[in-house]
Symmetry: C2
Subunit: 295 residues, 2 copies
């Protein structure tokens, strides 16, 4: 390994564990991973970029819904619009636990906004948001808040013939807009919660229903298997909704948000994953201690 | 282009059209296709290998169902088992047209046989079939009946930075068993009709329901978009269920089965696609005239 490997990672047991895994996986002997099996999967929100105060896609979605409420104030009486206006934490907790009522209200609102949208139209909406909206604490667009050390990890894996996938609870098509320029991976390597699309009259347009389960919890290994035919050799996550994906991998990296100065310090939504990391010996990354540079 | 390009293809307008498209797509100027957009998709049955007397996967499935009927003769009174025993063409025509009763009976039978199966178990079943069963007319295992000229086309495309996907009405997981050794593409580049899988207790097991639509007709571009975020730059097919995929591509190749001596001569199930090819100027491959070698 040259010195430039994982240059933004501080020398120490975490960096060493990652470098050792890659060396072991790519050297014939015990721990070797055949090239075909070299699938690496990473959560996005909180693992590859900032997820505070809300996962960035929520900002994108809520801005559109706020416009819709302006045009049709009666929406403010219904869910999920009501919860968004009130910033009702109980409602949003229902997303992580997949409360059927919460999920149903959200899916209906998604359909109301995007049913019939073409990929080109959706792409333009996301690009406009990416270019105009800034993260409130850090003052720059979310796309500039991708973690440099994680991009280096993606590079290291690719250099060793791993195929890198992003696997997020967020929208597959939302992430695909910026995947290629941001992560250097093709759209087909992005796995996420997804709408169904219909093909008619020579065009793809968005239909009403979500395809399969939400891509959180057990949905992550399910979607990874559906997309790739395998479970991951390496997985990276940061939250309780990543536990199953991290359990399914041979080597697991958990990002811990403990850097209030450069990013955020919080454990909310990640308590169970931190406990599971201790139990199973996952590699826990301290943003504060293990990263020389964050962005 | 060196002489070894498409070596099993006879010189002529069909080979030339393919070589010209690849040259145009990879040379800056009109017709250039950006690397990210270089998605090529191929049907499997009848496009990459023999599909007579039945698509090979049917042979695999029907043998298992015949065993089940032996163990439980009452199944012979129900669909789809009854239609299989009677070789009822009306029932099987219902697969292509997606008759809900036919599709429902088939899905129920698939679930009966494979619900709860792990990928490893299914893999072993398919491998055993691949090694033991021979195509009745040609007398060799189906896996030896892959068209050599098409493998050369896949190679040509890959050499020009196309990502090659197989997109078949057949089972995704069935094809994934032999995709890597046969086509030289990773499992994640195989798109097909698919079961849902559940992840529980650290294992992936097959669930009851099919995921999304059958991968035929409009389902093909829908699945291609879902898997890759794009529609294909080049597509290859041979049947009416491929029409929408071929229409969605910039350059389309239709394989015509007109070689009774070396393979089969039939137009059944491909009449509409041949008509559409004339109308839209697709490149129609005569197996008899355009291929020096078939297998």
């Amino acid at each position: 390994m040259t010195e430039s490997v994982l240059a933004s990672w501080r020398e120490g047991p975490v960096k060493q564990a990652i470098v050792d895994f890659v060396a072991l996986a790519t050297t014939p002997g015990p721990g070797f991973v055949a090239v075909a099996d070299r699938i690496a999967t990473f959560d996005n929100d909180g693992t590859l970029w900032v997820e505070q105060p809300l996962p960035p896609q929520f900002d994108f979605v809520f801005r559109r819904w706020a416009q819709e409420i302006k045009q049709d104030p009666s929406l403010a009486e219904q869910q999920p619009y009501k919860a968004i206006i009130a910033r009702d934490p109980a409602f949003f907790a229902g997303v992580a636990t997949q409360d059927p009522e919460v999920v149903g209200a959200l899916l209906a609102a998604f359909a109301r906004t995007w049913k019939g949208t073409t990929p080109e139209e959706f792409d333009a909406q996301v690009r406009e948001w990416l270019q105009t909206v800034k993260q409130p604490k850090l003052g720059v667009p979310y796309i500039e808040l991708v973690y440099k050390p994680m991009l280096e990890l993606l590079d290291l894996l690719r250099a060793h013939e791993f195929r890198v996938f992003v696997c997020s609870g967020g929208g597959r098509d939302f992430m695909r807009v910026f995947a290629e320029e941001t992560w250097g991976i093709f759209k087909e390597n992005v796995i996420g919660t997804a709408a169904e699309y219909r093909y008619a009259d020579g065009r793809i347009v968005r239909a009403e229903h979500a395809l399969g389960s939400l891509n959180v919890g057990p949905g992550k290994p399910e979607h990874i298997f559906a997309q790739t035919g395998r479970l991951p050799a390496l997985a990276g996550g940061n939250a309780d909704v990543d536990i199953e994906m991290l359990e399914a991998a041979r080597f697991s990296v958990l990002v811990s948000h403990d850097d209030e100065e450069r990013e955020f310090a919080y454990t909310s939504g990640g308590e169970a994953s931190l406990a599971r990391a201790k139990e199973l010996g996952w590699t826990v990354v301290s943003m504060k201690d293990d990263w020389i540079t964050v962005f």
